[in-house]
């Protein structure tokens, strides 16, 4: 009788053990990325003010300001609307994005001077966002399925234990061949990112400072992007963040793009 019970138990144990052995670095990388992504999801809708400081190699600083609203659409593409506040000549310019988890996003640009909504080609992944060290793909291409993943180790970064993984863009026209991420073990929060360019050199280092928790959602207050090749730097400062602000799809149309946020 005991043998009869022991056999299925033995088989189940073997299956469980083999599945553990099958946890490849790729699977582990994907799981860590999913856990990190989960810290950002569930916000329903969000509004936030952004200030971007662009610092030249000589230390001169130029400032940009904008406001962004985002609508989370579980299992669908998120919608976002960014309106530029500074510099004064672009005040009121708006960018509406329907993110596509796998392909190209759909984007519309509103030019207030001309009262014109213009469709824009969103293949421009590697172009500089408003002249900064951030590219469009740094800002928008964060969907899990746009990358493949691989866990490459674990490290202590500034005294915090982190997973280290690499992700590889699987969409076309990326400016990167590899993105290396340090994600904290405790809360699965991004701490540092290194971007490797198409010539296989490390191009930029991104650091995340001051994470805050809003219910179950984590949001960062400051992101710094250092270009190692040009020695330019861009800093994104977030302010007036509001989570679950009651937005719906009608706030993300070409008509709402033409109205001040």
């Amino acid at each position: 009788m005991k043998i009869k019970i022991a056999i299925p138990f033995f088989i189940l144990s073997c299956v469980a053990l083999s599945s553990l052995q099958a946890a490849t670095p790729e699977d582990e990388g994907r799981k860590i990325a999913e856990a990190a992504d989960a810290t950002q999801r569930g916000f329903k809708s969000e509004s936030v003010g952004l200030k971007m400081l662009m610092i030249s190699a000589a230390g001169d600083t130029v400032t940009r300001q904008m406001k962004t609203i985002t609508l989370e659409r579980p299992k669908q593409d998120d919608f976002s609307l960014t309106q530029f506040l500074e510099p004064a000549d672009v005040r009121g310019t708006g960018l509406l994005t329907y993110q596509n988890p796998k392909g190209d996003d759909q984007q519309w640009l509103y030019l207030p001077e001309l009262r014109r909504v213009k469709v824009i080609a969103s293949k421009n992944k590697s172009g500089a966002f408003m002249g900064s060290e951030f590219t469009y793909e740094d800002i928008t291409a964060n969907a899990l399925d746009k990358f493949s993943y691989k866990k490459i180790g674990e490290e202590s970064l500034n005294g915090v234990e982190c997973y280290v993984l690499e992700k590889y863009p699987i969409y076309k026209n990326s400016g990167y061949t590899k993105i290396k991420q340090w994600i904290t073990k405790k809360d699965h929060l991004l701490s540092r990112v290194e971007f490797t360019d198409r010539k296989n050199s490390i191009l930029k280092v991104q650091t995340f400072q001051t994470w805050k928790q809003y219910g179950n959602i984590w949001r960062v207050s400051q992101i710094e992007m250092n270009n190692l090749q040009t020695h330019k730097k861009s800093i994104l400062l977030f302010s007036d963040r509001k989570i679950d602000v009651g937005l719906n799809e009608s706030n993300f149309t070409q008509q709402s793009l033409q109205r001040l946020l």
């Binding site: 662009m54 130029v62 400032t63 506040l85 510099p87 004064a88 000549d89 672009v90 005040r91 009121g92 190209d104 759909q106 984007q107 519309w108 207030p112 001309l114 009262r115 014109r116 909504v117 213009k118 469709v119 824009i120 080609a121 969103s122 293949k123 421009n124 992944k125 590697s126 172009g127 500089a128 002249g131 900064s132 026209n173 400016g175 360019d197 719906n248 799809e249 009608s250 706030n251 993300f252 149309t253 070409q254 008509q255 109205r259 001040l260």
Partner: protein, 438 residues
């Protein structure tokens, strides 16, 4: 307005601009549950025409002070008020001094409905060169010809978002009071009657309308917009006055009397679209025009009686962008558009309005530096593929410091004497401008 009024207006404007750079102003003010958002600019633009004109009264130099105020008062009841007057002050010519009320409206909006009433500026333009579909607003060609600013139209516009498909929409327009065209007057560098003894009537009360309600004849438009597989697609219908008038001697028995405007009611139906597919951005506009009643006019150069047929005009093209071409940061956009008309062979004097681009190609290159000063260079031009006729433009633009934007532009024109655009043959110009934004 007389000179005293203008001085007062500019004094007020100057004080507002001065205040705007003080710490008290921050482009947005909160007043309890209301908020006031404002922005504006003050610019100076100089034109130099190197070629001698056919009329000694046309200037070689033109200097224009321009200013724009844009104020929006927002309330918590989904009701906004907006005022956007634009000011023009020619340093020499009083004909080019005015206030254009681009916007002065109340806007009430709900998630699937919007109602806007007052002076408004609309845009149905999707192409980069000449837009046949963007006709709802009258333009002010005394201020500029190829880049004429739009005049605000008194109108009511309602928008309905249809069903769950957020990009499907119906728009209804009611244009209550017709705005006549502002055409270049005698002495203006773009006066197409330059060198001729005939001038244009300037007194708007003398203009003629083929409706007993004259300027109060109701005008309306209907537009349906949908997303079709990544393509933003609109169809529309319009009934109202043609935007360009028939020009006819004010005194029919005196062919040298000033030409007055005569406006004919017209039906227009058409479509416009734009859609991005990879690096390609396709866009186009097509408009069919038919006059309500048989439209006959006398050709004022040869006295022949002409009937204007219904016609179709279009602009179709694409934009292709090469990203990261230099230092992995610069973009180069290539533009190509074809401009056509169902009557490409007719002489312009046998047609209604401004139908000069009937067998043309517009080609352009836009080089964008993607730097912090948004530096860009645009090279573009129209070419007629049936006869030698070229209008080219080279424009450089850059932000200086935080609040200024500078531009330098060269426009070169080559036209045969038989060209429909012959009046522009001396209008090649160099432009330099600087605008202070606040």
């Amino acid at each position: 307005m007389n000179t005293r009024h203008w001085r007062l207006l500019f004094l007020v404007l100057f004080v507002v601009l001065l205040a705007s750079v003080s710490g008290a102003f921050s482009q947005s003010l909160s007043m309890g549950s209301l908020s006031l958002d404002y922005r504006g600019n003050l610019g100076l633009e100089a034109w130099y025409f190197p070629l001698e004109s056919s009329d000694s009264e046309q200037p070689d130099w033109v200097g224009t002070l321009q200013s724009d105020l844009d104020v929006t008062l927002r309330s918590p009841w989904n009701l906004d008020f907006r005022a956007n007057p634009a000011f023009y002050w020619d340093l020499e010519s009083e004909d080019r001094r005015r206030v254009n009320l681009r916007e002065l409206y109340l806007d009430w909006y709900k998630p699937h409905f919007e109602l806007r009433s007052g002076w408004q500026t609309f845009s149905w333009k999707t192409v980069e060169s000449y837009s046949p579909a963007d006709f709802l607003n009258q333009t002010d060609q005394e201020i500029d010809l190829l880049d004429a600013p739009k005049l605000g139209e008194p109108a009511i516009r309602s928008r309905f978002l249809l069903g769950d498909a957020l990009q499907s929409m119906l728009e209804l327009y009611y244009l209550s009071y017709f705005t006549p065209a502002r055409l270049p007057q005698h002495g203006n560098r773009y006066d197409f009657l330059a060198g001729s003894p005939i001038t244009l009537e300037t007194e708007t009360s003398q203009f003629q309308y083929l409706s007993s309600k004259e300027r109060w004849r109701p005008q309306g438009a209907l537009r349906y917009k949908a997303m079709l597989g990544g393509l933003d697609f609109s169809v529309f219908y319009f009934n109202g006055y043609a935007r360009y008038p028939e020009l006819t001697p004010a005194n029919p028995s005196n062919p040298l009397s000033p030409l007055t405007h005569r406006y004919h009611p017209v039906h227009k139906a058409g479509t416009f679209f734009q859609g991005a597919f990879g690096n390609w951005l396709w866009k186009g506009e097509g408009v069919y025009t038919q006059y309500e009643e048989k439209y006959t006019m006398t050709n004022f150069s040869n006295g022949k009686l002409i009937t204007v047929d219904p016609y179709f005009s279009y602009t179709l093209g694409f934009e292709y962008t090469l990203y990261g071409i230099a230092f992995e940061a610069h973009d180069l956009g290539l533009l190509l558009e074809a401009l056509g008309d169902s009557h490409p062979d007719a002489s312009l004097s046998e047609l209604d309005g401004f139908r000069a681009f009937r067998s043309h190609i517009f080609a352009g290159l836009r080089y964008v530096f993607n730097n912090t000063s948004d530096r860009s260079i645009l090279l573009g031009g129209f070419a007629n593929y049936r006869k030698p006729e070229f209008i080219t433009q080279l424009k450089y633009e850059e932000r200086l410091l935080k609040h200024f934007k500078a531009n330098v532009e060269l426009q070169a024109v080559y036209l045969e004497s038989s060209s429909d655009l012959n009046a522009l043959r001396h209008s090649g110009r160099a432009t330099a401008g600087i605008v202070w934004y606040w």
